[in-house]
Symmetry: C2
Subunit: 369 residues, 2 copies
């Protein structure tokens, strides 16, 4: 009895990701009667094309109005790439590695084209970002916050002048490991306020839609080898690429039954004076549940059910904004020196959130992973 019931539970959980994508919504008739049992209005059957999870991330040609954004994207938890949302940000024209160092875009300086061509424009009167000290995640292999062996390993965190990071990105200097400016505690506001005049401090149509201001505005700059491992956040995320491109691999929250989690002892990299890395356990921290799987090279022998999860891939180009709904799993790579800013708006802890928590709990309770 228990075996049969548990099998049935597991089957429902394994069928859920496809159902949530829209395929099984075609059959929402129970026992020959529509869900609204007393209605003579025919129960509508969604077309197979109206998938809840699209096969590819759709593009919008311009920012949606607040109601449309909320109704068509936030509420149904659907990602999209929005074009022409940033074109009024000076950052889009100005930002380059030399600009971050010197504070004026070299293309705007007619008086000293020689010097500015070398990124040596000294006419900037404004405090430059280059001298600001920023938090930099440093890892031996580009993977910050990822599973290594039986540990969940966080990066070494160094405070470096932004100019040092730029030196490394431009090949003028070397630094052990891989650098990634990626501290997600509103580091744009706290560490690089000089850059604020170059963009808006929030996304007005999104703030209006969500009825709140962002909790954090983060600045991202790193090497091509810097990778963000597969994880999810409890934020609605508007991710804006200012220069370069970001490659996202995505799974909807409904893929949870196919995405393995395990508990790991937390550790951090430490950078020795000789420039090598050692892994040091974080003794005071509790064990961390994390996704052991690399979606670019999944170990399907160990995690066979992941083969049933269908990742969406998208590239967010310069000037584009990705809306990444809260609780979507994401793995991120980038072009070398890619500059980006993202806005984190706190998610709503509503019925949809509770449903995800249930899916998560049941995936674990049923022993699926």
């Amino acid at each position: 009895m228990a075996d049969a019931a548990l099998d049935a539970v597991r089957r429902e959980l394994r069928e859920f990701p496809a159902a949530a994508r829209g395929a099984r919504n075609l059959v929402h008739v129970t026992g020959g009667r529509p869900l609204s049992d007393r209605a003579c209005v025919a129960a509508p059957f969604p077309s197979p094309l109206e998938l809840s999870v699209p096969l590819a991330v759709p593009y919008l040609d311009k920012p949606p109005g607040p109601l449309h954004f909320y109704r068509d994207w936030v509420c149904p938890s659907r990602p999209c790439i929005i074009r022409n949302a940033l074109q009024h940000w000076p950052a889009l024209q100005k930002w380059s590695l030399p600009y971050l160092r010197w504070g004026l875009p070299w293309v705007e300086c007619g008086r000293c084209s020689g010097a500015s061509g070398l990124g040596l424009n000294v006419h900037s009167s404004r405090a430059t970002a280059g001298s600001a000290e920023v938090s930099v995640a440093v890892t031996p292999d580009g993977y910050a916050d990822a599973v290594r062996g039986d540990r969940f390993v966080m990066p070494a965190e160094r405070r470096l002048p932004l100019s040092c990071v730029l030196d490394v990105l431009e090949g003028r200097a070397q630094h052990p490991g891989v650098l990634y400016v990626q501290k997600q505690c509103s580091n744009l506001l706290t560490e690089l306020p000089q850059l604020l005049p170059d963009l808006e401090p929030h996304v007005p149509w999104a703030s209006e839609a969500l009825g709140k201001m962002p909790d954090a505005v983060n600045f991202w700059l790193g090497e091509a080898a810097a990778v963000t491992s597969l994880h999810k956040d409890h934020y609605e995320n508007l991710y804006c690429v200012i220069s370069g491109e970001k490659h996202f691999l995505l799974h909807p929250p409904s893929d949870r039954p196919f995405i393995p989690y395990e508990l790991y002892t937390p550790a951090s990299y430490q950078l020795t004076e000789e420039g090598s890395f050692k892994m040091v356990d974080e003794e005071t921290m509790e064990k961390v549940p994390w996704i052991p799987l690399d979606p670019l090279a999944p170990d399907l022998a160990q995690y066979p059910s992941y083969s049933q999860a269908q990742a969406l891939h998208c590239t967010v180009q310069t000037g584009e904004m990705l809306y990444l709904p809260a609780l979507w799993f994401h793995h991120v790579q980038q072009s070398h020196g890619c500059m980006a800013v993202n806005f984190w708006y706190d998610m709503e802890y509503d019925l949809k959130y509770s449903y995800f928590q249930l899916l998560d709990s049941l995936t674990k309770a049923s022993g699926l992973n």
Copy 2:
């Protein structure tokens, strides 16, 4: 092993209704780290007062704007009672049983106050509703679409002039059983178009919010004994009381694990020429899943887990509009002769819908009910 896992699954399902109400949302930390594992922004902890399912249905003093309606009520699937949403409808001043019969509100006729006082205003030039033929659900006990013994029994359906129904409601005539004008196939548009000038054919702020027009506009008129048994619809429902009052007993979709369903052979009442009722099986119909439980007098010996479901009760008064989100379970009673109009907007078959379907399937698969 299977026993323990199945127990764990059932425990999660039984704990879900409270979690979805907001109580357990206080603990959304897993393994000592916030859900967004890499964030230094503190994970927000909702206050116990910010319940996803309120303890009582909240009131709004005026219709919300489209964005607010969608964001604060539709998306999180929260009911509310909206005041001052109908005051511009002539129906609210005009509709009465005599008006439905004769077509002009007697209070507006100064010339023949005697006759109009009897509901006999003959000055109406417009086609009156009283002569229109309407579908009437007739049942021996007031329960249309309810479980009786081992059958799911639908009402006898009679076509009667509305004036006959009014005669019965006003005590001028008798009819076997209990009458309820409640045919939910846009009967206001198809059977009583004479009444359309007295109201708006849709709810503009709701249509804008939902991005669609209603699938059905239904007219409701019945005796005090007419009861709508506990069920759910796949429609966003705006239920407007024009005269009298409606009493709703509600359960959120998340209460599904505590709400029993069973499969029943469908049957219909037939009214014999002698005025008695007989139950006739609907031989061609498949079995119908229905809720056997009367929430006003639940058989807790048979359905003990229902004792853990917390019903919300509300009364919608004359001039008020209830927003009843799709998939909320509802049981409805009314004052004698209560007149109401409701708008059914098709729901979105999105992630939240898929999650409900999963909850439904898992409740069944795990053997909870």
